[in-house]
Amino acid sequence: MSVKWRVWLSGALLAAVIAAALYFPALRRQVNKAKDITEKTAEQARRELLPVAPPTSGEPKVKVKMFWGSRSQEGALNPVIVELPLSSDPVLRAKQVLNTLLAGPVDAESRTLPPDAALLAFYILPDGTGVADFSDELRTSIPSGIQSEQLAVESIVRTLEANVPQVLRLKILIHGQEVDTLAGHVDLTQAFSVSSKDASGVKLEYPSAPRSLLPAPIEKAVEKVRGVTRR
């Protein structure tokens, strides 16, 4: 190889190295961006596609009875009054109270549902069956056991019963699918009776904490619960 060719080849290689050095940061940015897109789960994509509940700031605040866990009575529920601007539409209203239930009380120990679970959809069938579709986290993050799963379902049922009278019974789906159990114990194949008018669902008989046992500070603290919807 002649000297002239060696100079040309060295020059070409040097130019390629410089071009690569200039292009590398841009390439890295593109790879990171692509990674973010591929890591987005089907569930996140679905959440983004779901219609967002319209803001209800114009609605007057009403007293809403929420059922979280009792700290004074093991395995029981504790009714807590919270003031929220609830919609008059039963579907929006159900979404609002369930999202508030998911957002949880100020006191984390009274939580009945996992903090990372989300309500993906809620609709009411013509026969009065409310269908609540939750994200996978409702199954995967809940403490496994009959008591904890029963408390979770009962808190949803009682909260709907107290605030959405149009819902007669409740069917729970996970990510759009019917599942056998919540986390290995409580049966989700059947609908739960929400209203005393319903005669076709499974009737739950979970105890609520007596009013005399309620720790008063919790009730006041929970009134400060932030926002109606989680997202």
Partner: protein, 205 residues
């Protein structure tokens, strides 16, 4: 008697400290309960004795294939006051019209609900005597395993896998086994199969 240690295989159930897994611990409770029941004169069948995971239906089928059986599923919770135990019975549900005279698999527990409640009360009373803080009476919960079981059926849930020391949980084994055996023995004279013309006390669990 059909004893069902819950979970197993890839389904470890509740997880606790010290690597405690419900599916393993519950085998110890089941083995001790089996001995206590056999000492009371009962024949005992286990739905699993190793680390496998039969389906809900396969477990129910062990009881449904025997006339006059009693079914108990054993669980260890991840919540609840440590050192306590609770008995759960299927809640009431609407009875669908059934002109076949056969028991429908999906509602197999319905004809046995009253018997399950009697069994549940007997076992819970015995547990409450031994484990302070346990409820005095049985509770209801829609436990999937119970729904397809055509026999008096209860779930016993022990708290919990969240104990600081594994020995705290394992110290409950003899008490739980004895309470279940005595509760079932007390239930025996009350066990009359639905629709059976047999007089009380003549059925043989």
């Amino acid at each position: 008697m059909v004893l069902d240690p819950a979970h197993g295989g890839t389904d470890e159930g509740a997880h606790g400290t010290e690597g405690i897994a419900e599916s393993n611990e519950v085998l110890q409770f089941a083995a001790a309960t089996r001995k206590a029941l056999e000492a009371q004169g009962f024949q005992v069948i286990m739905t699993r004795e190793a680390n496998d995971n039969p389906s809900f239906d396969d477990r129910s089928a062990r009881a449904n294939a025997q006339r006059g059986s009693v079914f108990i599923t054993l669980h260890i919770a991840s919540t609840g006051l440590p050192g306590t135990a609770r008995v759960y019975v299927e809640p009431e549900a609407p009875v669908p019209p059934n002109i076949t005279g056969l028991i429908l698999w999906d509602q197999a527990q319905l004809p046995f609900l009253n018997l399950s409640r009697k069994l549940g009360d007997q076992v819970q009373q015995e547990l409450a005597k031994r484990f302070k803080g346990s409820p005095d009476t049985m509770q209801t919960a829609p436990v999937r395993q119970l729904r397809t079981t055509a026999a008096p059926a209860i779930a016993v849930e022990i708290s919990s896998v969240s104990v600081q020391n594994r020995s705290d949980l394992e110290s409950m084994v003899p008490g739980v086994a004895d309470a279940i055996a005595r509760g079932v023995a007390a239930f025996r004279p009350l066990y009359v199969l639905p629709g059976s013309p047999m007089p009380e006390g003549s059925a043989h669990p």
